[in-house]
């Protein structure tokens, strides 16, 4: 009797725990390990639920925390500045040191970039690596969040994050699309006029809002990031300028207005210059919604 009541209590606690950790995820099916996912870089198999994740990708760091896998993360790279709770270290995703990464005894490494054979080196140490490179569209970005959910046992939470992102973005697009009608945008990556066309991930944001992107005419090569000429930008006279080089290069509306000939540009005359934090504009994680929100606010002011 006593034994069975303990069992019942235990079952209730266990059920409750699953409910809380799955956080109203509906049926929180316990992930069945091993889990195999297929990324652009190939198949990765995770044998058991990772408890010591090292993230070398700022986007992956944001996603892992958003889906509630933050407690499974032991170290993030020096560029992962969001969220604040992320265990930021001096590890680098650009010039990674395999020994330094291995010293954290990770059971999973997530990276966005594979410099100097990082993935194969970690593979030789028996550490599985998920290589989630820069997404080129929303579908790929959602897929990365979904896969991070699958491998961390946070599949339901990941699905919820994705659903929330989709709903919020859809709402913003609904209210902003009519305002964006017939307007053009110039997205600035650096003061020497590198821009982002519709072939890039950020470009997809403008396309979704129905803005015309002046960089598209310059991206015949399809790289997504053409360098525009100043003459062209002045002649195209975009209605909206988005500065993604405020942190790296100290650009602000006043420096843009003082560039020679730029006082003729529509966006400069109407003061429609949006500052967006470099990190939001260069990542493809859950804060994509913040980017949409900033654009929607700018369109509302126009």
């Amino acid at each position: 009797m006593l034994r069975s009541s303990i069992f019942v209590a235990g079952a209730i606690v266990a059920a409750f725990t699953i409910l809380v950790s799955g956080a109203a995820a509906g049926p929180a099916a316990p992930a069945a390990y091993p889990v195999t996912i297929t990324t652009a870089a190939g198949k990765v198999t995770i044998q058991r639920r990772p408890a010591r994740i090292v993230s070398l990708s700022p986007t992956a760091t944001e996603s892992l925390f958003a889906i509630g896998a933050g407690r499974q993360v032991v170290a993030v790279d020096d560029q992962s500045d969001y969220p604040k709770a992320a265990p930021k270290t001096t590890l680098s995703g650009f010039t990674p040191n395999v020994e330094a990464i291995a010293a954290y005894r990770p059971d999973l490494v997530v990276a966005s970039y594979d410099p100097k054979g990082l993935v194969s080196a970690l593979g030789r140490l028996g550490i599985p690596v998920i290589l989630h490179g820069a997404a080129s569209n929303f579908k790929a970005a959602y897929q990365q969040i979904r896969q991070l959910g699958m491998v961390t046992g946070r599949e339901a939470a990941a699905a919820r994050v994705i659903a929330r992102m989709k709903a919020k973005i859809a709402a913003i697009v609904r209210t902003s699309r009519s305002r964006a009608e017939g307007l053009s945008v110039y997205h600035e990556l650096s003061p020497d006029f590198y821009s982002a066309s519709t072939n890039s991930f950020v470009g997809k944001v403008y396309a979704a809002l129905g803005l015309e992107n002046i960089a598209d005419a310059a991206d015949s090569a399809g790289t997504g990031f053409p360098q525009l000429s100043a003459e062209y930008i002045v002649a195209a006279s975009p209605d909206l300028i988005v500065l993604a080089d405020t942190v790296c290069c100290g650009q602000k509306p006043s420096t843009v207005a003082s560039r020679p000939g730029w006082d003729r540009i529509s966006a400069v005359r109407t003061g429609s210059i949006v500052r967006i934090h470099d990190s939001i504009a260069s990542r493809w994680g859950p804060r994509l919604v913040s980017f949409f929100r900033a654009m929607s606010a700018a369109l509302a002011r126009l």
């Binding site: 020497d192 525009l228 003459e231």
Partner: protein, 357 residues
């Protein structure tokens, strides 16, 4: 300066380098003028020759003229395109003249303006500015000054090391010192760059080199340095012919070798550093242009130096036209253009001149 110039009149006469043939001068000037006309007329935005000439006529206050360009087109022509052509001409002329000067002073045909560590030093200065200057003093604005200081420090170090090693008599020592200093500064620069990965892109685009569309401000910034450097070098142009004979010969002809060399090197470096500070690293001009002139016209330094200024200016103006129009409205880094078009041209010159010799 006057004393030195007076002293070298007789040794120069003893060398008898070939002077400038009027045909070559005319050809060089025609090349420069043609380049400037193309540079002003051609761009990603078609302004039309009629529009450009009417706008020009109005600016020159020719009676009865009025510009047919719109206000935006006026801005594009006068605030973006014109200053870019002028800046390309100044930088091209300076890099080419500096290259010819270094080649003569160090009697080494492979020397270019970056040899003495100018590029590495300027690169370090620019990287430090981008990485560490506070936001209220944006790196972008302080960049030219920082690059200039870095370049000057590097050359000073090169000269000190080279001189202490061999009392400045052997030019090979100086070249080796330059390589040493350049390696050291490049190492420092790469290290700083790696520690600041978030600003990496800005450094990268600066290193690729380009003529910025920054209006007249960069022209004003560069002009005094380029003007002074050019005047100083051209005043000493006959002495470079004497130096090219060798230090002992030059000394026996009454040239204060060390002083003259220092003056020329400082002038060439000041001009180069100013150009590098504004335009980043544009290779190839300083080595290609003087050699092409030498092979085609077969002249001594007395004629080569002024010709280098003119042809170098025209070359970079043309190269920049390609950089901003070939993929318009996208741009190509200028360094790619100078090498892509400069190298085949130079190969052609090499073949022809060998056949002629």
């Amino acid at each position: 300066m006057n004393a030195t110039a007076a002293k070298v009149v007789s040794p120069t006469a003893a060398v008898h380098p070939r002077g400038i043939g009027p045909v070559w001068v005319a050809a060089a000037v025609a090349f420069l003028l043609g380049s400037i006309v193309i540079g002003v007329a051609v761009g990603p935005i078609d302004l039309g020759l009629g529009g450009i000439s009417s706008s020009l006529a109005e600016r020159l206050r020719i009676p009865g003229s009025s510009s047919s360009l719109s206000a935006t087109e006026e801005s594009i022509l006068w605030e973006i395109r014109m200053p870019r052509v002028v800046l390309a001409a100044l930088v091209g002329g300076m890099l080419s003249l500096a290259g010819a000067t270094y080649q003569g002073v160090f009697r080494n045909p492979l020397v270019d303006p970056y040899l003495l560590g100018v590029a590495a030093g300027a690169g370090l200065g620019a990287t430090l500015a981008i990485a560490y200057l506070p936001d209220r003093l944006p790196g972008q604005q302080a960049l030219p000054a920082a690059a200039f200081v870095g370049g000057a420090v590097a050359v000073f170090l090169t000269y000190s090391v080279g001189r202490s090693a061999n009392r400045g008599r052997d030019t090979t020592t100086l070249v080796l010192a330059g390589v040493t200093v350049a390696s050291f500064f490049t190492a420092l620069q790469t290290f700083v760059q790696q520690q600041n990965a978030d600003t990496l892109q800005q450094v990268y685009t600066w290193i690729l080199g380009s003529i910025p569309s920054s209006g007249w401000s960069d022209v004003v910034l560069v002009l005094p340095y380029v003007a002074i450097a050019t005047v100083v070098i051209l005043v000493y142009r006959r002495v470079v012919d004497v130096l090219s004979l060798g230090d002992d010969e030059a000394a026996s002809l009454g040239v204060d070798v060390r002083r003259v060399r220092l003056t020329l090197v400082v002038a060439a470096t000041v001009g180069t550093a100013a150009a590098v500070a504004v335009c980043g690293l544009i290779g190839f001009v300083g080595i290609i242009v003087p050699h092409a002139i030498r092979m085609l016209a077969g002249v001594g330094y007395r004629a080569l130096l002024p010709l280098s200024v003119i042809v170098g200016a025209g070359f970079l103006v043309l190269a920049d036209v390609i950089a901003r129009t070939a993929l318009a409205p996208a741009e190509i880094p200028l360094g790619i253009v100078t090498a892509f078009f400069g190298a085949p041209f130079f190969a052609l010159v090499l073949r022809t001149s060998r056949g002629a010799a």
